[in-house]
């Protein structure tokens, strides 16, 4: 089983996490479009960690039931008060931002879950299954 993790603590770690997700997705057997979607969702969620929580960890893991990939984004940042609201397209607390990260990431994968507690942190999982 393939598994890897990346610490997110500066800008270049966003690049590292998305590159690693693509690498592992490729090894698992995902095609070019799914690799690109996974890498892009990873970029959005890693950037959120860097921007809102300052630092965190990305865990990438091959799964078998059903076969595919799971990526977990975990941080001990400020948390999201209303995750459902934050998932909506256009919701953002950053002036000038479009609030596309969470809603866009969700459209790029097969499943996405958010657990968050204000003051404690945020845990987001994305899943993509082999066709």
């Amino acid at each position: 089983m393939l598994a890897q993790s990346v610490k997110i603590q500066d800008e270049s770690d966003i690049l590292t996490s998305r590159r690693l997700v693509r690498e592992i997705a490729t090894k698992i057997g995902f095609g070019i479009v799914d690799q690109t979607k996974l890498a892009t969702a990873t970029s959005e969620l890693s950037r959120n960690i860097y921007r809102y929580a300052d630092n965190g960890i990305v865990y990438i893991e091959q799964i078998t039931q059903p076969p595919g990939i799971k990526v977990l984004f975990e941080d001990n940042g400020p948390g999201i008060a209303d995750p459902e609201e934050a998932m909506k397209e256009g919701f953002s607390t950053t002036p000038g931002s479009l609030g596309l990260g969470l809603s866009g990431a969700k459209r790029l994968v097969d499943d996405m879950t958010i657990e968050s507690e204000v003051g404690k942190g945020t845990k987001i999982e994305i899943f993509k299954y082999l066709p």
């Binding site: 479009v33 690109t36 970029s43």
Partner: protein
């Protein structure tokens, strides 16, 4: 910090993005392009991203904003070489990209700029230094 080189060809600026870039470099590139447009009087800008296997919302937004800002300075921006997988992903991401002009490769990008009055001929003459 590394900077992406901006080449000048007649009255056009030519930028080829060869590697995956992080946010600070992308933002610096946008500023550099706008500065160069106003410094040289360039009327066209071609940005080739055929080497990029990922364009996330930050990159896409910057390319779009840069196109709009360049228009305000009197220059037309053409983005060339978007890969099919990147195009499919950008549509899912949901960003409004109506502000950007694209062409499939550098050749057709230049054709597009060439057909724009003043980009390669007759228009404003480039300032010389």
């Amino acid at each position: 910090m590394d900077r992406i080189p901006i080449l000048k060809l007649k009255s056009c600026l030519l930028i080829s993005i060869q590697t995956d870039l992080h946010d600070l470099i992308i933002t610096a590139l946008q500023e550099d392009i706008l500065t160069e447009i106003s410094r040289t009087g360039a009327r066209g800008v071609l940005i080739d991203i055929s080497a990029l296997d990922i364009v996330d919302s930050f990159m896409a937004r910057t390319l779009r904003d840069c196109s709009v800002m360049a228009t305000l300075l009197g220059a037309k921006v053409v983005i060339t070489g978007i890969r099919p997988a990147v195009a499919i992903t950008l549509v899912d991401l949901g960003l409004d990209l109506s502000g950007i002009i694209t062409a499939c490769d550098i050749d057709s990008g230049f054709d597009l700029l060439e057909s724009t009055p003043g980009v390669f001929n007759s228009g404003r003459i480039l300032k010389r230094y």
